[in-house]
Each structure stands twice: as structure tokens, then as C-alpha cells.
């Protein structure tokens, strides 16, 4: 049978198998496993059959708990079923996993192992999640590479059917799940040959069926539960042999052999590492290297971790072993050691007990690689070196500098095992420029057109706008086990000029290597524009230096900002990894293959770019001396506080790995107000204010997603010392007569989305293309506007008591306490958060569900949540995805309790602190800014008086005195949280009657994980997990919330009616009970032009696709209908809105007939919904009187 090579990542590799051997697949998105579900959904929507010729049912559930439940049900009724997950998702599956295992049900769950959230969430990989499943009764099988992930996925399914033990098949999140590698793809015949049809039939026969009914899932008592629990023993005892037997058969079919444990290295090794996961491949490579250089070391790879086969393990260890280091990719605080370590110690002890005392090695344990921390040959060598010591460090860490508890092993970062025959490339790009896509394509070309092996791994930063990507590529004649980042590259490409000043890219370039720079400067002038360190390294490393003006080529060939094809051609033209002509021909073929389905125009555009590239690629003759005076600036301004400069700054600069343990607080606490130090300068154009025609409506500031457009109203005396170009005009508002007015842009924080210009209602009468705010090139304004911005910040904020919060033109001068987030350029969510921060931020406490808003809100290095001049601002935390409403309710309960206690103490201490003050503190209504101001004054007086008192109650009151000022609790999250995974909690919280404010940032998909369908997704929208267009309607969360009667509910869309949004926020916060605001947020996942996202919002409302309304229970007190429908009758058809967005429109090209039907149904949905709300809002409101 000929072997079919393909390049893919482990998610695709695993999905390839899982899809083919299952009939029911329940899915739910979670990083990094989401792509497995996405593949399954897409294949099902395209009608791809499994190996038995039927198309699996792929169903998205509301949570991983739901997915596990659905799989459990499918298994119990005789289907072959599976699911995919990671981290918190896996934890939610555990209850069902116990049941599935307890019922001896064959299945395999595929897990891209990911860190479980502790002091922080992390999307990256380690084994902390799978280790939680040790007691579920699942067999656990670990894959170390992409090839293994495909192979062991099949072995897991086959062995599960053979053994009746369910399997948890896992592989390292990101390092393996997202590594693109050249692998041999299992054919359907190979897959079929491994699955024993008799076992499938037996599984069917055990199914629940009314045709042969049985009872399962009983409740049992002390008399028999225990015994029955022991009935499963023989299945577990038999399982390892059955797994080995499947592995043997797999070897016969594919010529690839796996064993329960695999030993590599010197047969007479005395020092052995035991481990599992991708790190084992690094160790394998290092063992080969060390042994080739005279060492005698070994590695034992654990594949079947549960059931742990002691005798297989002992048989696998060489008799010569004297010392074992067990490496765990997890941490269990308080345990004697990490799980694998404990298992190995136990296994050796078991061996001894079983009379196999042939080896009694010393065993030490160590932790490595938490949250995808790099694990390199240098670290492996350090572990072996540690084992050489008579008294090796035990319970060590490797890969960090623990300067607090001194657990870490030192290592020589320069040690390298990279073979000479491997081409290693590092590519620095921006997310938007197509660098990663180009590199994935290069891997495909080399992997699928040559005998070479290829590997690609891609590192992204945490920003959603202006994100840097670093691609790590390897190509070589041998199997590549190097599952670590490239640190010694013979090819470095910098695809963005701005990175030159920010990152020391050439540090990784080997001597004599090649440096490609995308430069607006040609070969004769580029040298003089390079920073000094870049020049010096080019000279010192005798690097070959090439430049391409990819911006120009991209523009001239119609490629826009995507330079993928251009830079790929450069790589092949220079690197000589393939003969040039062959490479170019392969690129051309690849373009036809990749873009053919998108139309000939797209193909031609890319082919043209190939030709143009070669004509614009030049080698630069570097002088012998560096001449540049351009230095690389520190990441953060010297005026930033120490922690920001010394800790957050290095993280921002990509040097977080160098920070020691002592740099951080022990509980995951970080300061707010830190995004302002980043100064990312990612905008090519920024808005410029025309003070002469501006009507001072405040709309530009309101919609700005990044809070870079600020307004201040101030006394004219504040202009003293203003920079020459600082703009100021008379405030137009009559209430601010005599004051000055300035709109200032933060030039280095703007992302250049242009949404402010789009919303500006003013046109320049002489030149109607101009508005009162216009986009202009950033570079010439960077320095002067930076000076203006700094001056602007020094102007004091207007006293909040002089601002009417109900009118946007005034309200928008309130200081935003949410600024410069890393959200997407033009984000539709952040304007709502910023508005909330302006209105209530100085007394807000925010519970934020996991999702986009928790990432741009709280992903290191910085946070956009900030403080005002008094040091007050939102306090923010993220607990989980599923529990956010409950988490926020906890805030409320806690605040209320402390406020109540504080009031009690005030009463008790009234005589001491002064009766008048005490009465005022307790009686303050705190209805508006003036009340709040006065209460704060009182609390200051109280604290001053309490500070002088030295008895317990006074001290207690001092500790909670701030609780006497009203706190605003906000529970924030996306629709994935509110409609799906967190709905149960949300429902309970709004039913609680407590004064909490829920803000649902409704993008109608799971945005953060890549646009998967939620129950908020409207009918006809194409989304992941709804690749064929969502067949059902959007859930009406607002209507459900209204059913309680005592919940304030608002549905808003800022782009449709901003005053309505403002009114809803004010009413929701003022309502002394639960409030929920459902806010329409346009999103990149809609496939729209983000500059005009507010127009999409307006169109959604104008067509009736989205309704504006407020349901205010307070109106019932006046005998009024609580529901006010703020939307007018639709003025356009739903299709007019749908046509604006790719998420709807693409169905017309992929499934035109379905699109036609679904669009008609969407129109019907909108009309029905409008009629229902119209009826509810217009009906005569006659509440039943008490006693009726």
C-alpha cells in the first residue's frame, strides 16, 4: 500500500481518524481543541462519510458537560460516539466520564491537553487537565507528535472497543495540536482494518433498547455498591495487553510500531528520564545527540498511562538504570510529587513487591513546560547532568529561574542539538500580513513535493489587533523531533519594518545565515535606516542580507495588506531549500490549488505577485562598519512605574521567559492602568480633529473602541504652556459657556480603525468628503501629537457633578477607565465597556466571563482597565467561562454584606464618630454623582476619625468603610457565556432579585475561539459548527429574562441609536434589582468591514433583525407597561442587512438553495418578532391586584 504523506496539525490528524470511526460527535469550542470539532462539522456539512459509508451526526452542545452527556447517551444507545476537548472543558466532562467508565462503555475522547486555570487562565499546553481524569476509570493514552496523534487516535478507538474501557487520548495543546508536520495519513482501509466489527456489534447489543430493555444507571446502597464496583477489575487487568495487541496489529498494517512504554537510548544507560508528551520527543532528540557524543543515557516514553501496566514498565527499563528523573508537565501543590513521579515510584515499589528487585534506582521528580513553557535539549541535558550528581536536586523545576524557593535547575541555553542538515527559519510577521499562512503553505510545498520532512510552529501574541506572529519552520531529510522553538536559525525574515526597533530578531541568526527584510527602503538606502544593533549583528554574523519592498508589490498586484505569496516567494528564492525554479513552479501550482475555488481573479492576482516579487528582491552589500545611531528603545517609557518597567515591559518585549519567580506576586494579582505604557503605534492612519466644523456631539469618542479619542472641557487657563499645535475651541454647550473644548487623539494607541470618521455626522461644506474628524497618515503626526496627548492628559478632568450623564455630548467627556485594549481594530464590544467605565467605573467591580472580553481585558502583559486621578477604577476578575453570573452575584452578596455590616458599625460607633456624620452616611441616597461625591467626602472624614481610634470595631469599620459608597456590580460576557454555557447561572442570578448588572456583548458567535455558532447565532448565518448555515432561529434571551417581571432588560445597538444605549445603561444601573443589557456587537467573525461596523448595527435594527427595547419593571409602579419598544417598524428588508455580511452572504455561494430558504425564514423571524414585541409593548397593561 503506497503511503500518503500530508502536512497537517494534530487537531486535523486526530479529527481525521475520530470522524471516520464514529457516528455521533458532540462538540463544544475550547482552545486548543476547537479545530477538531470544526473539522468534524465541516466534513459532515459536506457529506463526507465515515469508514462505514455514513455521515456522522455532528452536534454542538451548550457546554462540554453537555457534550459529554450527549456522548454518554449516544454510547448507551449503541452508537459509536466521541468528543474533543481540553482544560476546563475536560473538567466539566469528568462526571460523565466516571459514568461512562463505570458502565464499561467503549469510546475515545480526544484531548489537546491544556493548562487548568489556577492563579490565571492559560490557553497553552500542559498535563494539568488530563491529570484530573486519572480517577475517572478512563484509559489514558498519550501521543507525543502529530504522527502519533493520528496513529494513537485510531489505537485508542480500536483498543477501547476491544477492552470496553473508555479512552482519553491526549496530546500537548498547541505544541502538538497546532504544530504542522509532514505525516503519513491513515487510509480508510487501514482505519477499517483496525476496528473489529464484532466488537462494534457487541457494543450495539449492549445498547439500551425497548426491544430488549434493561436498566442501567441505578442507585445502589452500602450493601452492594462496593462489590459491583470491583466487577470491573478484570477489564482493567486485561486492558494493557489488549492495547498492546492493537498496537501490534497497527504495526503490521502501517509499519509504525508503538508499545505501552517505549525505551530509547543506550541499552546500558544508568540515567533515564521517564516522561510523556511532546517533551519526550525533545528528550529523544537529546538522548540521540548525547549518546552520539559519548554519553549513556536513556528515555522511557509512557504511552499508556492508565491502566498503568507495571510489568510492561519494568520490562521496558534497562537493567542498568541507577537513577531516574520523572518529568511531569503539571504541578500539584501540596502533593509529595507530581502524578507521573508518584506512579513511577509506586511502580518500582510494586515491582519489588512482586519479587522483581532487579532494579532499585533512585527516582527524582521534576516539573517542566507548564503552560507551554519551552522545553529544549538544553533543559534535557540539565536534567541528565542533575542525575549525574550524587545527590541530585529532587522535586526540581526546569526551564524557569526560581529564585524564591530555589527549585530550578540551571541550564546552558546555548546548548543545541540542531543537526546541520536541517534548514531552520524564523519569520516575524503581523497577523494581518499573511505570514503564517505563507509559511503553512511553504511547509505543504516542501512536505508534499519532496522527500524532506517539514515542521512548522506558530507563536502569536495575545493582541487581537496588530498582533505579532513568529513562525518557526524546520525542513530536513530526517524525521524532525524538535518540538521546541527555533533558537538558532539559518534564515530570519522580518516582514514588518516596525519590528526592527522592537525585537532582537537577529540574535537567533547563526553565523553566515540569511536575513530577509521587508523594507520600504531599497538596497542602496536601507542600511542607513537600520538600528545599530541590527547593523552590528549583520556584520558580526557575516549574514547575507536581502530586501524586498513587499508593501509596494502587494499594492501593485492588488494583494492589499496580505504579503503571504510575496514573502513565500522570497523565502524560496533565497533559502535554496528547493531549486529555485522547482520552488516557484510549486508555488504557482499551490496558488492554483489553494485559490482556484475562490475564482480565477484571485489566482491571477497571486500569480502576478509571484512574478513581481522576483523583480523586487535585492541583496544588500553590508558595509564593514556599523554607522547607525538608531538605538532600540526600552519597551515601556522610563516614566512608567517600576513594576511596569521591570516586569510588564520585558513581557511586552517578548522576554517574559527571562523573568524570575521573584518578579511576581504569589496570588496572580496585577496592577491596572497598564495598557497605556505599550504605545504600539500600529495605526497607519489616525483621526485628526477639525475643531472649526465640529458640532461637539461626542459620537466619535463614544464609538472609539480603543478610547483613543478623548474629550475634555476645561478653563482657558489650563492652556498655559500648551504645545503650538494643540487644538482648542470654545465649548458649544450652553451649560459650559466660557469653557474650552478639545478632542484629542492618542496617536500611538490608536489602531486606525476609522470607525470614528464613519460615525461623524458633520460634513465639511466646502469639501464634502471631509468630516469633523478625518483619517490622516500617522507617522508625521506621531511626535507632535504625542506631545499634544501628554499635555492633554495633564488638563484636569471636569468635575463629574457638572456633567449631565444622560446626554452623549456631555457624558462623553467623562473619563474612560477602559483604554487601549488589544481588541480587534474596530471592535464592536469595547465601546460598551468603555461607556460603562465612564459612567460607573470609579465604583465598579466586574466579573468577566472567559472570552474575548477577558482576553483583551486581562491577558498579560497589560490591562486596559485603569484608574482615575484619585486612584479609583474598575476592579476586575475572571473566574471561569461557565460560572460568571454566579461569580458576579458573589461580588454583590459580599458587597451587600460588608455594606450592611459597615452601616451596623457606623450605628454602633455613632457617638464616637459623630451622630450627624453617622446619620448622613447611612441615609445618603447615592442616586447621582453629587450624592456619591458627598458620600465619598463623608467616608474620608469617617476614615480620618477612625484612623485615630484603636479599638477592634473601629479598625473593622476602617477596613470596610469604602463599602459605604455604593458599588456597581457588572457581570460581563459574550453570548457563548450568556446564551449557552453560563445560561443556567445567568438565569439563577437574574432570578435572585439582587442588584447586579449583566452586560451581554452579543456578537452572535463564540468570537474568541474563532466564530463558532452559539444559540445567539441568527438563522441563516454561516458559522463554525454551523458550516451549512444555522437552521434554527436565535434564542430570545431578553424575552426569557422579562418573564420574571422584576428584571430590567434592554436590547441595544450603539450604532443604531446611541442615545438609547446610554439611556439603557443608566436605567439598568439605577434599577435596584437585576438588570440585563443585551448589546449587539459587530465582530470580525461576521466578515464585515470593521470601519463601518456601526452601519451594520444600524441596518440590523432598520431591518428588524435586531430590536431596540427596554423593559423597566419600575414603570409598573406607575401603572405603565414595563416594555417600551424603541425600534420603529422595519424600514428595510432583512436581506438588505444580510447582504452586508459575509457570514450570511457566503451561503449564497456555497449553498444557494439553502440560502434562499433560510433568508426567507430569517425575514419571517424578524417580522414575527417585531409583531410580538409590538403587541407586548402596546397591550393594555393591567397587572393583577394583590388578592385577585
Amino acid at each position: 500500500m503506497s503511503r500518503k504523506f500530508k502536512t497537517m496539525d494534530a487537531n486535523e490528524a486526530v479529527a481525521h481518524v475520530a470522524y471516520r470511526v464514529n457516528e455521533v460527535i458532540a462538540i463544544y469550542p475550547i482552545t486548543p481543541s476547537s479545530p477538531m470539532g470544526e473539522w468534524a462539522d465541516q466534513w459532515a456539512s459536506e457529506g463526507l462519510p465515515n469508514v462505514w459509508g455514513t455521515v456522522p451526526q455532528v452536534t454542538e452542545m451548550q457546554s462540554e458537560g453537555g457534550a459529554a452527556g450527549a456522548v454518554h447517551g449516544a454510547l448507551q444507545t449503541g452508537s459509536l460516539a466521541t468528543t474533543f476537548t481540553a482544560s476546563q472543558g475536560l473538567l466539566l466532562m469528568i462526571p460523565n466520564m466516571n459514568k461512562i467508565a463505570g458502565e464499561l462503555t467503549p469510546t475515545a475522547f480526544h484531548v489537546s491537553a491544556r493548562t487548568v486555570a489556577t492563579h490565571a487562565l492559560s490557553i497553552f499546553g500542559d498535563h494539568s487537565d488530563v491529570m484530573f481524569c486519572r480517577s475517572t476509570g478512563y484509559a489514558m493514552l498519550c501521543s507525543n507528535s502529530v504522527q502519533e496523534a493520528m496513529d494513537l487516535a485510531l489505537i485508542a478507538h480500536a483498543a477501547s472497543l476491544e477492552s470496553r474501557i473508555p479512552f482519553l487520548h491526549f496530546f500537548d495543546g498547541f505544541r502538538t495540536s497546532h504544530e504542522v508536520s509532514k505525516i503519513v495519513v491513515l487510509s480508510d482501509d487501514e482505519i477499517r482494518s483496525l476496528i473489529n466489527p464484532d466488537r462494534v456489534i457487541e457494543h450495539r447489543q449492549r445498547a439500551l433498547s425497548p426491544d430488549h430493555p434493561v436498566l442501567r444507571g441505578t442507585a445502589q446502597n452500602p450493601d452492594v455498591f462496593f462489590q459491583i464496583r470491583e466487577t470491573a477489575n478484570r477489564y482493567y487487568e486485561a486492558c494493557p495487553k489488549k492495547v498492546q495487541s492493537v498496537m501490534d496489529k497497527f504495526a503490521q498494517v502501517t509499519q509504525r510500531r508503538y508499545n505501552l512504554f517505549d525505551y530509547v537510548g543506550a541499552p546500558d544507560a544508568e540515567r533515564v528520564i521517564v516522561m510523556m508528551g511532546s517533551g519526550a520527543e525533545v528528550t529523544h532528540e537529546t538522548v540521540d545527540y548525547l549518546n552520539a557524543h559519548g554519553d549513556k543515557v536513556g528515555l522511557l516514553k509512557v504511552r499508556l498511562y492508565r491502566p498503568f501496566a507495571v510489568s510492561h514498565f519494568l520490562n521496558c527499563l534497562p537493567a542498568s538504570v541507577r537513577k531516574i528523573a520523572v518529568l511531569d508537565r503539571t504541578k500539584e501543590s501540596g502533593a509529595i510529587g507530581e502524578p507521573l513521579y508518584l506512579d513511577i515510584v509506586s511502580a518500582l515499589n510494586e515491582g519489588t513487591k512482586q519479587g522483581r528487585p532487579r532494579i532499585t534506582p533512585k527516582v527524582i521528580g521534576g516539573r517542566y513546560g507548564l503552560s507551554s513553557k519551552e522545553f529544549t535539549p538544553a533543559m534535557v541535558k540539565a536534567v541528565y547532568d542533575n542525575l549525574k550528581l550524587d545527590d541530585p536536586k529532587d522535586h526540581f523545576t526546569i526551564g524557569i529561574n526560581d529564585d524564591v524557593t530555589h527549585t530550578s535547575l540551571p541550564y546552558d541555553a546555548e546548548f543545541s542539538t540542531e543537526p546541520e542538515n536541517v534548514v531552520r527559519g524564523l519569520f516575524y510577521g503581523l497577523g494581518a500580513d499573511g505570514t503564517v499562512g505563507a509559511n503553512k503553505n511553504s511547509i505543504k510545498i516542501i512536505g508534499e513535493n519532496t522527500d524532506h520532512y517539514a515542521q512548522g510552529y506558530f507563536v502569536y501574541d495575545s493582541k487581537k489587533s496588530g498582533a505579532m506572529t513568529v513562525s518557526h519552520l524546520r525542513f530536513g531529510p530526517e524525521l524532525i523531533r524538535s518540538s521546541y522553538l527555533v533558537s538558532k536559525a539559518n534564515f530570519v525574515a522580518c516582514h514588518q519594518w516596525i519590528f526592527l526597533e522592537r525585537y532582537d530578531m537577529l540574535n537567533s541568526l547563526v553565523s553566515g545565515g540569511t536575513f530577509l527584510l521587508n523594507s520600504p527602503f531599497g538596497p542602496d538606502e536601507v542600511w542607513d535606516h537600520l538600528p545599530r544593533p541590527v547593523q552590528e549583528q549583520i556584520i558580526a554574523k557575516k549574514a547575507r542580507f536581502f530586501v524586498i519592498d513587499a508593501y509596494t508589490v502587494a499594492r501593485d498586484t492588488g494583494m492589499g495588506s496580505r504579503m503571504n505569496t510575496i514573502l513565500q516567494v522570497c523565502f524560496f528564492a533565497i533559502s535554496k531549500v528547493l531549486p529555485r525554479d522547482q520552488a516557484i513552479a510549486a508555488i504557482r501550482e499551490s496558488i492554483r490549488h489553494t485559490y482556484g475555488r475562490k475564482g480565477e481573479e484571485i489566482v491571477q492576482k497571486n500569480l502576478k505577485a509571484v512574478d513581481e516579487t522576483l523583480a523586487h528582491l535585492f541583496e544588500v552589500n553590508a558595509p564593514a562598519q556599523s554607522t547607525s545611531a538608531i538605538e532600540m528603545p526600552p519597551p515601556f517609557s522610563p516614566s512608567a512605574p517600576e513594576f511596569e518597567r521591570n516586569v510588564l515591559g520585558p513581557i511586552y518585549a517578548g522576554r517574559g521567559d527571562e523573568l524570575p519567580v521573584s518578579a511576581f506576586s504569589a496570588d496572580g494579582t496585577f496592577p491596572t492602568g497598564t495598557a497605556k505604557w505599550e504605545k504600539r503605534n500600529i495605526a497607519l492612519e489616525i483621526p485628526e480633529w477639525d475643531s472649526k466644523i465640529c458640532i461637539q456631539c461626542g459620537k466619535c469618542a463614544m464609538v472609539c473602541p480603543h478610547a483613543v479619542i478623548r474629550i475634555k472641557v476645561y478653563e482657558s487657563k489650563e492652556l498655559a504652556g500648551a504645545p503650538v499645535n494643540f487644538k482648542s475651541t470654545e465649548a458649544r454647550d450652553k451649560e459650559w459657556q466660557g469653557l474650552k473644548y478639545t478632542i484629542q487623539v492618542a496617536p500611538e494607541d490608536c489602531t486606525g480603525c476609522g470607525i470614528c470618521v464613519d460615525i461623524c455626522p458633520v460634513k465639511n461644506k466646502a469639501e464634502t468628503r471631509l468630516k469633523a474628524i478625518n483619517m490622516v497618515p500617522q507617522p508625521p503626526l506621531r511626535v507632535p501629537e504625542r506631545e499634544n496627548w501628554e499635555f492633554f492628559l495633564k488638563i484636569p478632568e471636569l468635575d463629574r457633578r457638572k456633567i449631565k450623564p444622560g446626554a452623549i455630548r456631555q457624558q462623553q467627556i467623562q473619563e474612560p477607565l477602559f483604554e487601549f485594549s488589544g481588541a480587534c481594530s474596530g471592535c464592536g464590544e469595547t465601546p460598551y465597556l468603555k461607556l460603562m467605565s465612564q459612567l460607573f467605573g470609579d465604583r465598579a467591580i466586574i466579573a468577566n466571563a472567559t472570552g474575548c472580553s477577558s482576553i483583551y481585558g486581562g491577558n498579560l502583559p497589560t490591562t486596559p482597565w485603569t484608574k482615575n486621578a484619585d486612584g479609583r477604577g474598575p476592579a476586575w476578575s475572571n473566574s471561569l467561562f461557565e460560572d460568571n453570573a454566579e461569580f458576579g452575584l458573589g461580588f454583590r452578596l459580599s458587597v451587600d454584606k460588608q455594606t450592611e455590616f459597615a452601616k451596623e458599625l457606623v450605628k454602633r460607633l455613632a457617638v464616637t464618630i459623630g451622630g450627624e456624620l453617622a446619620n448622613a452616611l447611612i441615609a445618603s441616597p447615592q442616586k447621582d454623582e453629587a450624592d456619591i461625591y458627598e458620600q465619598r467626602q463623608r467616608v474620608d472624614v469617617l476614615k480620618e476619625r477612625l484612623g485615630k481610634l484603636n479599638f477592634p470595631e473601629a479598625k473593622q469599620l476602617l477596613a470596610i468603610a469604602d463599602m459605604l459608597v455604593k458599588k456597581s456590580v457588572w457581570i460581563v460576557g459574550g453570548d457563548g457565556w450568556a446564551y449557552d454555557i453560563g445560561y443556567g447561572g445567568l438565569d439563577h442570578v437574574i432570578a435572585s432579585g439582587r442588584n447586579v448588572n449583566l452586560l451581554v456583548l452579543d456578537t452572535e458567535v463564540y468570537s474568541n475561539t474563532g466564530g463558532q455558532s452559539s444559540k445567539s447565532t441568527p438563522r441563516a448565518a454561516v458559522a463554525k459548527f454551523a458550516a451549512g448555515g444555522k437552521p434554527g432561529p436565535k434564542k430570545d434571551l431578553g424575552l426569557m429574562a422579562m418573564s420574571y417581571g422584576n428584571v430590567y432588560v434592554a436590547s441595544v445597538a450603539m450604532g443604531a441609536k446611541d442615545e438609547h444605549t446610554l439611556k439603557a445603561f443608566l436605567e439598568a444601573e439605577a434599577y435596584d434589582g437585576p438588570s440585563i443589557i443585551i448589546a449587539y456587537a459587530h465582530c470580525i467573525a461576521h466578515g464585515i468591514n470593521m470601519t463601518t461596523g456601526m452601519q451594520d448595527q444600524k441596518s440590523a435594527v432598520d431591518s428588524g433583525q435586531w430590536l431596540l427595547y427596554r423593559y423597566n419593571p419600575e414603570r409598573t409602579a406607575q401603572g405603565e407597561n414595563p416594555l417600551i419598544l424603541d425600534s420603529r417598524s422595519p424600514t428595510k428588508k432583512v436581506q438588505d442587512f444580510l447582504s452586508m455580511e459575509t457570514r450570511f452572504k457566503m451561503l449564497t455561494t456555497s449553498k444557494p438553495e439553502d440560502a434562499k430558504r433560510l433568508w426567507a425564514e430569517a425575514q419571517h423571524d424578524a417580522e414575527s418578532r417585531y409583531r410580538l414585541y409590538e403587541y407586548l409593548a402596546q397591550r393594555k397593561f393591567e397587572p393583577a391586584k394583590p388578592g385577585e
Binding site: 479545530p35 475561539t1009 456555497s1150
Partner: protein, 346 residues
């Protein structure tokens, strides 16, 4: 029995009433309705090459924008393995229309590249269209482009399409040529089987509240009739190609007038959008009633009877007539008939 039949593009039509390219042909159901109310053929809405290209670019842009930028989401929309982009939807529409009705289906194409014209024309032919109308719709705004270059482009397109397909080819023209008659002659020589007179161009309006250019399309008024009436009257008998009148055909009288000046068919659009598809029947009834009353036997009899060649006062078609009407202007004008002679050497 009055004979309403006419021949257009080699197709024997029951009446000279043909709905022109418009949204009315977007749905197969409405094409069926047009047949039911007596339309003798239907020109489908236009396939715009530029629009297809633009849509492909947009789709490609939105499917690739934001991809591979963020660890948790390397893409935001599923990418189907197959797209039905390009003209497939239009071709399918032709196939369905052909199956659904018995009247001829005339496809309409607006290309932007010679390759596009040829490729799409071939595909339209293969899809089963009875004829093709080339909707050469360009509004040159480039001051460096000469009239000669533009005219040559028209001729080249007609030649290219004619050499690519076997089905009859009509060309829908703009009236804005320095010498319409010369243009007609050259297109006639290039092989056009019919000329559709005239295309109505997009002309922007200004929204005074928003200070924006509004791309609204105005429905034609009966006054628009005069332009095709003039030129069909002049061209009748002088070109081999069939002549179709479009613009301003609102009632039976308009049809009669256009037939009288020489139109082989009259095309209906604005009036159907305004009055509904059943207006075809009303016009046919009106046409019959008038012919009956005035004792005409056939459309053939009407056709060209008032053309410049056959009318009592040929100068009535000429621009000089306008000069006479405006007494103050005293120019010596070359009449259009004289112009035609000079151009054709007749």
C-alpha cells in the same frame, strides 16, 4: 385575425412585447408569470462580470482577513471546499428558466474583459439560452480615453462574442456616440444580430440632507421614448440587424409608435415594475384594439411604416427640424440623412 408575430434574433415571437433585463427575471416564478401574461420572450437580468469579480475579491478578503493572527482562532469563518462563484448561479438560472417556460430566453451579459465576454458568452450558450444580449454598459470617466478607442472596444466585443458563440447576439447600446448611425453601421458589420436601443445609464443624484451621492435608479418616463423612436426611425432599413426599442415603452401607443418607426420588438421594464407584470396583457390588448380599430392586419405591416425611409416627411427625423422649431438659431446643419450618406457612401 390580426397577426402580432415578429421575428427577432432569428426567433419567431408571438408578439413584439418582450420584458427587458430587469429584476423581474430574478425569480423563475416571475418569468413564468411573464409568459402567462403574454410576454413573447424574456431578457434575463444581466450577468455582470465586474460584480462577480468584485464579489470574489470581497469573499476572498473576508475569508482570509484576520486569519492566522491569534492563537485561539486561526480563522473566523468556515471555508467550504467548494464555492459556487462565477456565473454558475446565473447559468443555473438560464437552465431553470428554459425548463420552466416555452418562450425564448435571452441572456444578458455585461463583461469587463475580452476574456470575460468570451468565456461567459460560451457558458451562457451552453446553458441553453436562445440568444445573448451584450449589455455594453460603460461610463467612461477617463479624459484620456478617445471616442475612437471606446467605439473600437464596442466593435471588438461584438466581434469576439460573435466568433465565440453560435446563438444570435444582440448588442444593447448607449445613445451617447458622436454619430450613432456610424456606430450602428460598424456594429452591424461586426456581426451584431440586433441592436437594443437604448441602455439607460446610472446617473447619480444628491441627497441634500446627508450631502451624499445617491445611486438611485430612476424608472423611465414616457418621454424617454423619443430617443429610441428617433434612432430606430433613422436606422430602419439601413442596417441588417434587428432593432429592439427599449426605454419609455409604457403603453400600447408607445409600442405602436416604435413598431411604426421600425422596431422588431419593444422592450418593457419600468412600466412592468410600476404596474405589475399583468401590464403586458394590457399592452397587448391595447395594441390589438388599436390595430383593429385602424384596420391593421399585422405587426409586419406596421413595422417601419413611419421610418425615415418610408414616412411622408423624412426631414422630420432630422435635427434641423429642431433647428426650425427654435427659430433663433440659424445654423447650416447637415441632416442625419446626409450624414448617413457621407458615412456609408450610399
Amino acid at each position: 385575425m390580426i397577426d402580432l408575430t415578429t421575428t427577432y434574433l432569428g426567433l419567431k415571437l408571438r408578439t413584439p412585447l418582450v420584458p427587458s433585463a430587469s429584476p423581474l427575471s430574478h425569480e423563475i416564478d416571475s418569468i413564468c408569470r411573464l409568459e402567462d401574461v403574454g410576454a413573447s420572450a424574456v431578457v434575463l437580468y444581466s450577468l455582470f462580470e465586474e460584480q462577480l469579480r468584485q464579489e470574489n475579491f470581497e469573499l476572498d478578503h473576508h475569508l482570509s482577513a484576520h486569519t492566522e493572527s491569534f492563537a485561539e482562532a486561526t480563522s473566523y469563518l468556515p471555508t467550504p471546499t467548494e464555492f459556487r462563484i462565477g456565473p454558475e448561479g446565473y447559468l443555473e438560472h438560464i437552465r431553470k428558466a428554459k425548463k420552466a417556460v416555452h418562450i425564448p430566453i435571452i441572456a444578458s451579459l455585461n463583461g469587463t474583459t475580452v476574456g470575460g465576454w468570451i468565456d461567459y458568452a460560451k457558458q451562457i450558450e451552453q446553458a441553453g439560452a436562445d440568444a445573448l444580449e451584450c449589455n455594453i454598459y460603460s461610463l467612461p470617466a477617463n479624459p484620456d480615453l478617445t471616442a475612437a478607442e471606446i467605439e473600437q472596444t464596442y466593435v471588438d466585443i461584438v466581434r469576439a462574442v460573435k466568433s465565440a458563440v453560435q446563438i444570435p447576439v444582440a448588442v444593447k447600446l448607449s445613445p451617447f456616440f458622436s454619430n450613432m448611425a456610424n456606430m450602428a453601421k460598424r456594429l452591424d458589420q461586426a456581426g451584431a444580430d440586433a441592436m437594443v436601443l437604448f441602455n439607460r445609464f446610472y446617473q447619480p443624484d444628491i441627497d441634500l440632507d446627508e450631502l451624499e451621492i445617491k445611486p438611485n435608479v430612476l424608472l423611465s418616463t414616457p418621454q424617454a421614448l423619443r430617443l429610441p423612436l428617433t434612432w430606430i426611425g433613422i436606422l430602419f432599413g439601413r442596417v441588417r440587424a434587428n432593432l429592439a426599442a427599449t426605454s419609455g415603452v409604457h403603453g400600447p401607443e408607445d409600442v405602436i409608435k416604435l413598431l411604426m418607426v421600425g422596431a422588431d420588438v419593444t422592450m418593457l421594464c419600468s412600466t412592468l415594475l410600476r404596474n405589475g407584470t399583468s401590464h403586458v396583457r394590457y399592452i397587448e390588448d391595447g395594441l390589438l384594439e388599436w390595430m383593429e380599430k385602424h384596420e391593421y392586419e399585422s405587426v409586419q405591416q406596421l413595422k417601419g411604416s413611419m421610418s425615415q425611409l418610408r414616412c411622408p416627411d423624412p426631414t422630420a427625423f432630422e435635427r434641423a427640424q429642431y433647428m426650425k422649431a427654435v427659430k433663433s438659431v440659424q445654423h447650416v446643419m447637415v441632416t442625419s440623412r446626409e450624414a448617413w450618406r457621407i458615412l456609408t457612401g450610399d
